[in-house]
Structure formats: C-alpha cells, structure tokens
Amino acid sequence: MYFDVNGKRIFATTGGKKFDNSLPTVIFLHGSGLDHTFWGLHSRFFAFRKYSVLVPDFPGHTHSEGPPLTSIESMADWLNDAVESLCARDISIVAHSQGCLVALEFASRFKDRVKSVSFVASGLATPVNSALIDAAENNPEAAIAMMVGWGFGSAGHLHQGPVPGNSMVAAGRKIMRSNVPGALAADLKACNAYSNGKTAAAAIDCPVQVILAGKDRMAPRKAGMELVEHLHNPELHIIQESGHMIPQEAPDESRLLLRNFIFSNNPSG
C-alpha cells in the first residue's frame, strides 16, 4: 500500500492483507540498499496469522519517494511518523542489519509503542569500510557487487534457496538497482556515523531476540555478541550455515524463531 509520511509517498507491503490497526503490528525493517521484498518469506506468514504487517521501503528505496534519509536517528523518527500516521499499535519490530540500528533507536525512544524487538544479523554499530562508501558514491555497480558479494554466504553464491527457481543473489542486485541514485551511499554513511548503540540497547526494556549468522562477513559474530551483552536478557540464536542475508538465506529457520518469539511476546487474539 501507499501512504503519506511527512508529505512523501511511501510504500509498504502489508503481506497480502489489508492493514488493520486493531491488530498487533509486525514491522519489518530492511537493511542498506534493500527493500520490502527482502522480507517476503516472512511478511506474508504473519499477515495470515492475525497480525497487521508493515514492511516499508525506506525513503528513496524501490517504491518510496526520496530523498533517502541520512542518519539512523532520522530513520527512527521517520518510522515513528509512519507508525503514527497509520495508528499502528502493539508493535513487534523485526529488523535486519541497518534496520537493527533503526530499531535500537526506535525501541529505546518510543518505548510505549513497542512490544518486542528481533534483531537479525547486527551489532551495536555498523562501521563501513571507506572503499565501500566510496564505491557507493562513485561506482554504484561496484558497490552493489560488494554488498551482494559479501552479504550472501555460499548458498546464495550458488544461487540455491528454498523458493524453487529463484536466485537470491541476482534478485539482491536488482533490488539495489531499483533505489534512487545515492540511496545506498546515504544508508552506508548513516550506518557508519551511528554511535549511540550502547546507550540505546541499554534503554530498551521490552523482550528482545537476537538472531545471528555463523558465516556473517558483514556483521561478524563478535559485533553481534556485543549487542547481546548490552541488551536486557536477550534470547540469542545463531544460524550456523547462513551468511549475513539471514531472511533470504535461512528463511525457514528464522521464520520459526520469529514466530515463536512474537507469538509469545506479542500474542494476537
């Protein structure tokens, strides 16, 4: 669906059901350069199990009007504006990578709205190497290749995956190409500049879950464990064989973990 946030036309998929703000909401946040389709193997599942689902394209990504936002803090504010405009309630956030930084800010600052947070493949911060930022600014195709190349583990690189016939690596490239120019660079710079992770993590008091990948080359295990250390009583899972792109590379495992966690911490009628 399209809706308005601060005068801009924003797209979010609702998982194939009409958005109904009387139901608890699951909001899925995508990572740098990606879009709503990244969560396609999770969003529809919740939408057909009595949750209202919202998977927005951040501004400047695929169907949402730009310009891209330039800081993690402004993305959290934007998310709050989006939530407010839809009167969404009882929110479970499910976030991947950069989305996790936004989730840290959102859940620590707008506590009343949030019932649970699931952090997928992230640490407290996401330092980005300067070669990647430089490529994102000056040679987007090279940057896309680095993101997709480092992001996916071996199953992705071998074009395997649970959806018959689909290549997640190729789809990843096409998604990144559908952003407005500069969106990936803006995302990466926002990640690189974000430094409030520790404080934000400590301030979150709802149930939290962390799902890490055993073969993550973008948010290494050490960084993920740092997030775990600073959260209150997180539920921790490690999907050993997956690379960074857990929602695509290990959708069945991650869906089950999210399901169990959200069903118990934010139950729906």
């Binding site: 389709t37 071996s154 074009h159």
Partner: protein
C-alpha cells in the same frame, strides 16, 4: 568471497545443495508427484506463497528446481521456470502478461513454431502479432500500438541468422514501457546474456545446446527482474491482485521475481506444462559441460565454414561470423566468442541437388532439431518452415536451395568426408 563464481563453476554447482542424507554428488532425481508436509501450518503456508517449498510436481520439483536455479545463475536472471518444452516456455511467458485484445511485435525471422504460435494459434484467443524484419530497427517502433504488451525476437534469427540489435530494441521497449523478450536458444548464456543488453525476459529451448545430447525436450523462461511492472496499468496480471492466491499482488510481494512467480502460480498450475524430473536430470548433465561443448561447436563451425566456402559445389554460405554476412558487426558486438553453430548454405543445382545431398551425406543426421552434440542437417523449406506461407518464407529469409546445418562435435576430418559423400551424389545436378 566478495567475488562471484564464474560461468564454468556455476554450470557445475549452481542450484544444487548436496544431498544431506546420503551425500549424493550428482543431483538426485526426485521422481515423485508430491511431498509429505510436516504439519498443516507448513502445508497452508506453501500453498499461500508464504514460504518456499514443494507441494506437487506440476508446480515445482526439487530436481527441476536445481536446473531452474542453475539456468537463472548462468543467465543473470532473478528467477527461472522450466517447462516441458521450449514452445511451452514461450506460451507460458506470453500468457503470463498478455490477454485477449493484446498485441505482440515480433521478429519475422524466428523458429517456425514461434511464428505459427503468434500467427495462427494466439489470434484464436485474441492475441495478435505484427512481424518485423529483425534488421529494421525503426520497424519495431512503428509496429507498436496502444495494445502492444511484448516485443519478441530471437537473438540469432532462424534460419537467416540475422542478429537482433538487442540494445536498440531494448531501448524502444523501455521508451514505450514494453518488456523485451528474447528467444536465446541459439546463443545460450555462454555466448550472450541478453539481460546485459537490456532485455527483460529470455527463454531457451533447453532441448538444444543447453542439454546438448538430444535426449530430452525442455524449455525455460528466465525473469530478468529488471522490468517495472507497476509503472503503468498495462500489466494487471503482475501488478493487480490475483484472486486465486487471496488477492496477492505479485509485483508488490515478489518484486524482481514477480513475473516468474506468475508463471508458476498460474501457467504451471492451470495449464500444467511441467518438466519431468528425469528430463531435468538429463538436462543438468548437459549444462555441466556447456562451455566446453560450445567452444568445440564454435571451432568446428569455423572449420566447416572454411570447407564450405572453398567447395566448388556450394553456391553460397551464410554465417554471422563471415564478413559477408549483413549482421557481422552485430555478431561481433553481441557474440564475441562466436555466433553459434548454425550455418546455412546452398548446394549448386537447386532443390534436386539439395535433396541428393541430404539423402547421401554421411555422419550428419537428417532430422528436425538443432544444437545436438551430433551434426544435423535439414531442408527448411520442406520441413521446419513448411507450414508457413510463401510470403512468410521470404520474410523469414528462406530459399528453396537452403540447407541448414547444425555443426556438431565430431572430428572435423570425418565430418568433412561425410559431406563429400553428399556432394558426390549432388554433382550430377550441378550442371558441370
């Protein structure tokens, strides 16, 4: 591993997860119609497109799935759907986006089956086509009407071997916001990947070079994932709610794989032209050696061109790698490794000489196929293109004396001496 696997590695490994139970190295043949669901929730979520997985082999099958992902990887597409034949692939792709009253702009130089589908069969269902000389780029733009929903052509035209200017036609497609679909059978992803030049959909008759052994019929549609189906209201089958799946909006849910998902959700379910697991297995064996075979096809082709050009009983030889071919420059651009292994030539003495040649040539098989490891020959005017009228024959660039040769992998000396047997028999018609 920020680098991506190269073509030869993908040809061998892409799409296959090594069998967890027994460690089988080859892709197992999952010869099954259906799949046991662990619980009702999993069953309903597979049926409702909430997750991946197999329910029934008409829709998808694990062996076929490996082939699909392998071809998607080689072609650079976001998704692929295999079908029982190349014709089924074309039909499924067209019906996924065109409905009654819609129109196709197609190259006039295509496989007879493609022409017949668009000229005779689809019009019965209200889908019409305008055929354009593939070398007349402006003609493609001029043939577009308000109801045009697809531009279609073969990269290497059949059988005149004119090369389609992919970039120029893709540009016309994008100006009019119409997807450009390429029948890439004759080139395979090893020689050219049409998505790199702006095409949006490809299909292959994998019966041909992809399989290479001539043992299995099969087809594939590959979704380039690079067409914005939601930018206009022209493609409601992709961008509007689809009732059978609780009003799913495929474009919104699946983005770069929306088109392929429509084929699987509709054509495979309602028409059912599925590839068998056994055929998928055979075709996978072929793809493992695609680059090796194509290199040999190409080197044998160059040697046969040399042989035919210097043969006194040959009146003309046509192949895009020859400077005399009108598509030579385009062939160099789009097919730098070589312009495929189909050669057309005329035997001096016309129709009777051609007949005598075909009936007496040794080693080369007289049959209606191309892209086999074995050398094949045929007389198009009386076989593959016999069902199209005289005007279309001329438009397709076919002459009465034309022999179409699909150069195989035999030893070149044996192949050439087999040809000499044919030429000996044709000599009496050559007027010498």
């Amino acid at each position: 591993m920020s680098d991506f696997y190269e073509f030869d590695t993908l040809s061998l490994h892409a799409g296959q997860t090594v069998d967890k139970e027994f460690g089988a190295r080859a892709t197992p043949i999952y010869q099954t119609t259906s799949y046991v669901f662990p619980d009702t929730d999993t069953a309903s979520s597979i049926f409702n497109l909430e997750r991946g997985g197999h329910a029934y082999s008409r829709i998808s099958n694990p062996t076929v799935g490996v082939l699909e992902q392998r071809i998607a990887s080689l072609e650079g597409g976001s998704a692929a759907v295999c079908t029982a034949s190349g014709m089924a692939a074309t039909f499924c792709a067209i019906t996924a986006i065109l409905s009654q009253g819609d129109h196709i702009v197609a190259s006039s130089q295509m496989y007879g089956g493609n022409i017949s589908l668009m000229k005779n069969t689809l019009p019965r269902f209200g889908i019409t086509a305008t055929f354009v000389d593939p070398t007349d780029i402006d003609g493609f733009g001029k043939a577009i009407k308000d109801n045009t929903k697809l531009i279609y052509g073969e990269l290497i035209g059949n059988p005149g071997l004119d090369i389609l200017d992919l970039e120029a036609i893709a540009k016309i497609g994008s100006q009019h916001h119409i997807p450009f679909m390429v029948d890439a059978t004759f080139n395979t992803p090893y020689l050219c990947r049409p998505f790199d030049f702006g095409a949006n959909i490809t299909m292959h008759s994998v019966t041909k070079w992809m399989g290479g052994h001539g043992a299995a019929i099969g087809g594939v549609v590959v979704d380039g994932g690079n067409f914005d189906w939601g930018a206009t209201d022209k493609y409601p089958t992709i961008s509007e709610p689809y009732a059978p799946f609780q009003g799913i909006n495929l474009w919104e849910e699946f983005g770069p794989a929306a088109f392929a998902t429509r084929i699987r959700a509709e054509a495979m379910r309602d028409f059912g032209p599925s590839m068998s697991p056994m055929n998928a297995f055979l075709l996978l064996q072929g793809i493992e050696t695609l680059s090796l075979r194509m290199d040999k096809h190409l080197s044998n082709t160059m040697k046969m061109l040399d042989f035919l050009q210097n043969h006194k009983q040959v009146s003309w030889v046509s192949h895009p790698s020859l400077p005399s071919h009108s598509s030579h420059a385009l062939a160099k651009k789009y097919l730098p490794k070589g312009a495929g292994s189909i050669v057309s030539f005329g035997v001096k003495g016309g129709r009777d000489a051609g007949k005598a040649f075909i009936e007496n040539v040794e080693l080369a098989s007289h049959l209606a196929n191309v892209g086999d490891a074995k050398t094949l020959i045929i007389h198009p005017a009386t076989t593959t293109h016999s069902r199209i009228d005289a005007q279309a024959l001329v438009a397709a660039g076919i002459t009465e004396d034309m022999i179409r040769l699909s150069v195989g992998l035999e030893d070149i000396k044996d192949l050439q001496s087999g040809f000499e047997a044919g030429f000996r028999a044709a000599r009496k018609f050559a007027g010498e």
